[in-house]
């Protein structure tokens, strides 16, 4: 884009062609007062404060809507400009309350600042108070219309950025006001409580509830999902009092979802574990660290080798995951180490490694908004990865074609061009059908296939059975929609594939992943910006936990335990002898515990009692253990069964590194002292290791652990704390000079050639029958995270979603005679759960859905533990059930 030179206030300034006068002035460090401008929003021209004088232009144009032009002479401080500005501010103040000293926005109010800047020394207009219509219906923020200056920022951010459009300017002229549809309380509107309106409001019209200004802010990373949004923790005393989106974050650019913006109450929650607990006479009672650590070391020493297993945590930092797997392998002498990735993206790691050689997102989050076509399959992105959802919305606003493939009518269907409502578990058939259409229509990228890939012919042969008749029969998607999807994806480049657990949580999850990889290679949509195969990972650091080798078959950076060279390298580094046979996976660990083969378990920050399939079996397995240590921030359902419970520090109380879903390694910074006697997980693991005689656990700070990781892990080789201060680095980053890798497989695939894999359609293992005629598919709510251990302890989130609701299609509800809100019993071949019903066409006929956030209705009692043969992920997305009316609860 070209440059334009102009003069602002006598200074020669260079501006970008197409930029506005306001932007150009701001870039040059020249302040122009304004109340409705925002770099994230379209120019609005509403507040009339950014007026400037431009030579040879009539009147006083608004600088925010005037593009720069060559030779333009701009004066921002002309006398008549300032007169008009004073007039405008006077008018704004004429219906604005004067109670600044008691307003929570005092000294942080833009209107106040601008009034002072332009210099208001009189009030010539009659005071007209806007009526104070207070809407405090939202649990997190309050709207006070009397302080509103109608800048429209809340309306615009909600529509332009969030794509929610809960708010609108109603009426015109002096009767204008900001309302929801029908002027209902905001909590009854489509509002998703992301708080971006609150963040943008220049006055006190939108304020967080119970607000206190912080004494300091600490830059860190959101602890919820795998997006890894940048945040500032607002700290006062030893307490987090608020959160602000980090505008500099390359991932989120200031955006946050409701959990990231408001879900911090758990950090200072009174139920936090603050002391080690040891079970004595059947009861957990407080103990000192010395007692607890000594006790654990004594007991674990009895089980070294294959009798012990370790479960690490995708919530913990990279350093902690590294230490936990090092502890398991070097001290406990076992490869029985795994974590919850087994339940979410094990097929991604296994599948994409086969196809490409690397099992992670191929491209970066921000590139999604630049795609011309997005295939979102098996991902309810706006609920599970809300800030990635924003990138999709932006792409669609900019003209991208969005194909949504999902059995449920998720929010993205609203803006999608094509919605493929396929049967749960029929993804391979759908994708193979699309690929056959692409080849038959001559839309495949043959030169890419020729130059970059291998095994194409075998794959092509496997497409034979997937004619559109067969595909329609298996998937229930009309043939013409499959063909249209194929055409859209193949002809609108760059095209990107996003997927999540709708793809992976099947007994054929790895096949599903391979199918997405085949599709991307077939059309050459890989290795270029805004293309790729992009698994959206669930936990904040599930990518990092995998990278750090908290897996039974690999050390850090996916170096195989059964590779003698790797074994030697780690034996030398850790000065111990290591086991070369891969250990048990998460699902196998519980089975082994059930069979009393694994007798002791050290479990960090996970809650299998609610998260793992067939929870009753997990419960029995845990109770058969001779020794269970649980390390967590709360006394989770699993911790309640432990022999020793260790109180861990939260993300706000420690330093470390998280790796987000786009392989971006980011710094987490300590903002508070750990609550009570809780300790960071890395410290705890080191203490246990040392008491068991482990060498190489003398760390004083996580940065020292990171240095050891870098030495042993090629893809993290160039990463150090010093390099992470500015937005993080995406691995592979092998050397200290390497800038990181936003896009994988650009020149060649990690494994050399991209490998096409032939596939066949395999039905889900669990099938419906007369006794269990409905399919249950599990999902997640925007308002909660995982097993709810943390989010259930945030009051406001429970106001927004307080209980499990079984979502059921009206057709099924009618057939069963079930009314909306009625309590039902959901029964599977493995157990039963009671919850209330929500009747909604979002769920297709024959399919019900439930989350697993609520301990009161533990959905995973129902789910099927049958696993994918390669990735060992359970079939959590397809479970045959029946629904019966349940008696109402007695109060």
């Amino acid at each position: 884009m070209g440059k334009v030179s102009l003069t602002i206030d006598g200074t020669k300034v260079e501006g970008r062609e197409g930029a506005t006068v306001l932007e150009t002035a701001q870039d040059a460090g020249i302040y122009i007062p304004n109340l409705c401008g925002d770099p994230d929003l379209e120019p609005y021209g509403g507040c009339r404060l950014c007026l400037v004088e431009i030579e040879n232009v009539d009147g006083l144009p608004a600088s925010c809507t005037t593009p720069v032009a060559e030779g333009m002479v701009v004066r921002t401080e002309a006398r008549r400009v300032n007169e008009v500005r004073r007039h405008v501010v006077e008018l704004l103040l004429s219906d604005h309350p004067d109670n600044c000293l008691t307003c929570p926005k005092n000294q942080h109010c833009e209107l106040q600042r601008i009034a002072a800047y332009v210099g208001i020394d009189q009030q010539r207009f009659k005071k007209l108070e806007r009526p104070a219509l207070i809407d405090s219906s939202n649990p997190f923020f309050v709207r006070d219309s009397s302080k509103c200056i109608l800048c429209g920022k809340c309306v615009r951010v909600c529509d332009e950025v969030q794509g929610v459009a809960a708010l609108e300017v109603f009426n015109d002229g002096p009767s204008s006001k900001i309302v929801t549809v029908d002027d209902r309380p905001i909590v009854e509107s489509v509002c998703e409580s992301c708080g971006q309106c609150v963040a943008k409001c220049p006055t006190g019209a939108l304020m967080p509830k119970d607000f206190r200004w912080p004494a300091k802010e600490v830059k860190t990373i959101c602890p919820y999902c795998g997006v890894g949004c940048g945040i500032y923790l607002a700290v006062r005393g030893n307490e987090v009092v608020g959160i602000r989106g980090d505008l500099e974050s390359p991932v989120s650019k200031g955006s946050l979802c409701v959990k990231g913006q408001f879900g911090f109450e758990f950090i200072n929650h009174p139920e936090r574990l603050t002391s080690p607990l040891i079970r004595r006479n059947g009861k957990l009672s407080e103990a000192t660290w010395d007692e607890a650590l000594g006790f654990i070391a004594g007991r674990l020493a009895e089980y070294k080798g294959d009798k012990v297993a370790v479960i690490s945590s995708a919530k913990c930092t990279n350093e902690e995951n590294y230490l936990i797997q090092k502890f398991a392998r070097a001290v406990l002498a076992t490869n029985n180490i795994d974590h919850c990735a087994r339940l979410c993206h094990a097929p991604t790691v296994a599948g994409l490694a086969q196809s490409f050689g690397s099992g992670a997102m191929t491209n970066s989050i921000d590139e999604i908004s630049g795609a011309a076509c997005i295939l979102a399959i098996g991902t309810n992105t706006t609920a599970t990865h809300p800030v990635i959802g924003l990138k999709i919305k932006k792409a669609v606003r900019d003209g991208a074609k969005l194909i949504v493939a999902n059995p449920r009518e998720i929010d993205l269907c609203r803006i999608g061009h094509l919605w493929l409502r396929h049967r749960p578990g029929s993804d391979v058939a759908l994708l193979m059908g699309m690929m056959r259409v692409i080849i038959d229509a001559g839309l495949a990228d043959s030169s890419f296939i020729e130059e970059r890939c291998e095994n194409f012919d075998a794959f092509k042969q496997s497409l034979e059975p997937f004619d559109l008749d067969f595909v329609e029969r298996v998937t229930a998607v009309p043939a013409e929609q499959v063909a249209e999807a194929a055409r859209l994806y193949a002809t609108n480049k760059p095209a990107t594939i996003l997927y999540a657990m709708g793809i992976t949580q099947h007994t054929h999850g790895t096949d599903n992943v391979l199918a997405t990889a085949n599709l991307a290679m077939l059309t050459g949509n890989i290795g270029k910006p805004s293309t790729g195969v992009n698994p959206l990972r669930g936990q904040n650091n599930v990518q990092g936990a995998c990278d750090m080798g908290a897996l039974p078959n690999v050390y850090t950076g996916y170096q195989r335990v059964d590779d003698p060279k790797v074994e030697e390298k780690f034996e030398t580094a850790w000065q111990c002898s290591l086991n070369t046979s891969p250990g048990l996976t998460l699902t196998e660990i519980f089975q082994a515990a059930y069979e009393k083969k694994v007798k002791a378990l050290y479990l960090v920050g996970e809650n299998p009692m609610l998260s793992d399939p067939e929870a009753t079996h997990i419960d029995e397995a845990l109770k058969k253990l001779e020794f269970l240590v649980v390390q967590d921030v709360f006394l989770s359902e699993t911790a309640q069964l432990a022999h020793v419970v260790l109180p861990a520090a939260t993300f706000a109380e420690k330093d470390g590194i998280f790796t987000n879903t786009e392989r971006r390694v980011q710094r987490v910074r300590r903002a508070l002292e750990p609550k009570g006697d809780s300790k960071p997980d890395w410290w705890i693991t080191c203490q246990i290791a040392k008491r068991l005689g482990g060498q190489g656990f003398d760390f004083e700070h996580p940065s020292q652990i990171m240095a050891e990781i870098a030495e042993l892990t090629p893809s993290y080789g160039g990463i150090s704390y010093e390099r992470l201060d500015d937005g993080g680095l995406q691995w592979p980053c092998p050397t200290k000079e390497h800038p990181g890798t936003p896009i994988l497989h650009t020149e060649q695939f990690t494994r050399g050639k991209g490998r096409f894999l032939p596939l066949e359609y395999k039905p889900s293992l669990e099938q419906t029958d007369n006794d269990y005629p409905l399919i249950l598919t599990t999902e997640r709510s925007l308002y909660h995270f995982h097993t709810g251990t943390v989010t259930r302890r945030v009051k406001g989130l429970n106001v927004l979603k307080g209980e499990e609701l079984v979502e059921m299609n009206p057709v099924d509800a009618k057939a069963l005679g079930i009314a909306d809100g009625q309590r039902v019993k959901v029964v599977s071949r493995r157990g039963e759960v009671t919850a209330r019903v929500k009747i909604t066409p979002v769920s297709p006929p024959g399919v019900i859905s439930m989350t697993f956030h609520f301990a009161e209705s533990p959905t995973n009692i129902l789910t099927n533990p049958a696993v994918d043969p390669i990735a060992k992920i359970p079939e959590l997305k397809v479970c045959a059930v029946r629904v019966e009316k349940a008696p109402p609860v007695e109060d």
Partner: protein
Amino acid sequence: MERIETEAPAREEIGAGYAGRIFRQIQRVIDDTGGQAGTLIRVLQQAQGLIGYLPPPVLKTISRDLKIPLSELYGIVSFYHFFTMVPKGRHVIQICLGTSCYVKGGQRLLDTLKKDSGLEPEGITPDGKFSLETVRCLGCCGLSPVMAIGDDVHRKVKPGEIKDILSPYE
């Protein structure tokens, strides 16, 4: 006039009856736009032409099919005085409250309408015969105060004459 009081029906559910017929017609108006951008005002105008006003179910249908947020439609409909979300009478009475008419007693005409017929600005009589609006200026200040009923302009109206003026309207 029948009122539309159903929820926005799904496309495939639009059935028989008055509401069904209206929704089919609105659907045709939307389909005729061929998904082009910038057709919203035309659709709103034609929809209002069919029913006389724009009730929530109609706005919901338009919002869904044109993929424009419902809140935005509310904003637009409330901004343009031409659009209305409440039913209008068979005859729309406009009382001018521009400077001249106001000085000459426009407000007294409003008071009388309220007293005699229970009509308030933006209101409608129970039989649906008249609805009432106030306007800023009808451009005939020499005849103030002015009361317009549909296309008929009544000049220099005195409160006592209102009853006789209204009586011929059916």
